[in-house]
Symmetry: D2
């Protein structure tokens, strides 16, 4: 999520802290959100994967895969990069053939602006549901990755572990797949 | 495509020729169309699969996977049944997590009604793009299965091998995946 | 919803009770569901319209506009016919430019098959959200038409007035429009 | 399209030329593309509107409505702002109830990167089809607004008047509406 995971400050697309601050103060950033799912033999969603990590607001929260699209990067490549970074190199994400997000999420510093909140910036995020077939090993900043049934993912117990509107994003993803209880 | 491939006339969902004629004269049928595709590591469509078979109008044509949804059958199950029937048991179709078709195709006995034509009946078809990972062996009535690049699939040479509007369906599928040239 | 509203038994597309029963026993029917909404100046959904009427299961329920696609009828024409029949001739429905439903709803006589239930038949329904600009006057079989805010439409009080899965359909429609609470 | 149409350099969201250059060199910008259409009584697209204006590459070209999403601005508000700026205050655009774009367009300074090209920057654009009901009067930088039938809009004569991939965007929009010839 943060620039702290840049391999070096001079890698293409990565910004110095000063430049990032300047950019964040002036334009919305392009983000992606990817909801990892397990599917059955006929493609129906059976489980939703959620990371446990330090959210943008400083709380330890359940979250989906989320991150910035870099300068010069295709959206598909950004999706794959963030999925592999967060779920590990053996997750085998299956990006949809259709490049259109199932919804767009508008994150604002003001929590009341859209219901989606990021204290750091205004971001317009393209949201995807991504089946993963392989073995997921949360890497880097994530403390844990857990899988929830569709009913659990929309339960109060799980929803209250999410911040910034990610619980609502999960509901939109479930609805998109026809699996909202 | 036809009732000729019913294992027996008494299998659930299958109709006697008389009943099928009666139904066809009175209501639109529910159909599915599935466009088989090969995708690369980031999910982009690289090739379109098309069967060579006897079309509803009697011509030998390039076609996508197409067929009826049976009484009591889920749409996902109908998709999987027709894909396995036409591409063989090792095709490994990956049905999308999202149950919504990318377009609907309205086939009419009158070729001018919608641009999609089936001389046998009025059918409303739910159309899907389906990545297939495995080994495809066209079975039953198909004479051949060939894979075309996105540019080839929309070329005049291939388009003129299709009837009933299937060339247009291919274009809609390519556009949906952002790959229409 | 029923064939009782056929002007005469010989109108094109309408079926005699015997033929309808025969068809219903053998094939899924093609249906449409239309969720009427009011939108604000920038197109956001502000209210959901729901009819009060006798549902297929005999209860008096809150419902969306729903009905059969007739033989020879385009889906757009079926949508408009049912919207005008249920909301009156001055409702001014605005059908979307995109013919793709936001979801498909599979109604089965068995209530546990998909979560969507119609005791009369198996139907595959194409579901649309339709902004209506004009004056709605529920006609024919509807007892009432009421408008609910997005939060009200998803509240327990309203949900328990719905049967057959229509409460879930409302939630899918709200999610599709980004307005699910 | 350009910052030249900023009312003043200090309006919220507008950037000084230096800041804009800095941003463009480091992150993709969030854009919207809106394809204005005329629809008939049942919502089918009958005509596509295209502006004649100086494109980003300096040529006088046929274009759709396109522009940046400002810091703090909702996507719907950006769409409405650009539509009113380009089509005039009486155009009465009807934004869809669904906030999801029909496709995303990735513009790169390198014309071969995605097939969509903008020499000034990398932009990720959310593309919408927007019916307009009212009287369109192209304003500001546009030289002309013309309406084309679906067949004309996809004809070689019109396509060669477009640059940067806008001809392909038109084809994707037509396909999305089921009207690609």
């Amino acid at each position: 999520m943060g620039e702290v995971d840049a391999p070096t400050e001079t890698a293409p697309g990565w910004l110095s802290p000063d430049t990032l601050e300047l950019v964040r103060a002036h334009v919305p950033l392009v983000y992606i959100d990817a909801v990892p799912v397990r599917v059955d033999a006929v493609g129906r969603v059976t489980e939703i994967g959620m990371l446990l990590r330090v959210a943008a607001d400083g709380t330890i929260s359940r979250m989906v895969v989320s991150g910035r699209v870099l300068f010069g990067e295709r959206v598909r490549d950004a999706l794959m990069r963030h999925l592999e970074k967060d779920l590990g190199p053996l997750a085998l994400p299956r990006l949809p053939a259709d490049p259109t997000p199932f919804t767009i999420v508008e994150y604002f510093p003001d929590p009341d602006r859209s219901g989606f909140h990021d204290p750091r910036h205004h971001a317009v995020s393209l949201a995807y549901v991504v089946p993963v077939d392989g073995d997921c090993q949360p890497t880097q900043e994530a403390l844990d990755l857990a899988w929830f049934s569709c009913a659990e993912a929309d339960s109060p117990a799980v929803r209250e572990q999410m911040t910034g509107g990610h619980d609502r994003l999960i509901r939109l993803a479930l609805a998109h797949c026809g699996e909202l209880p």
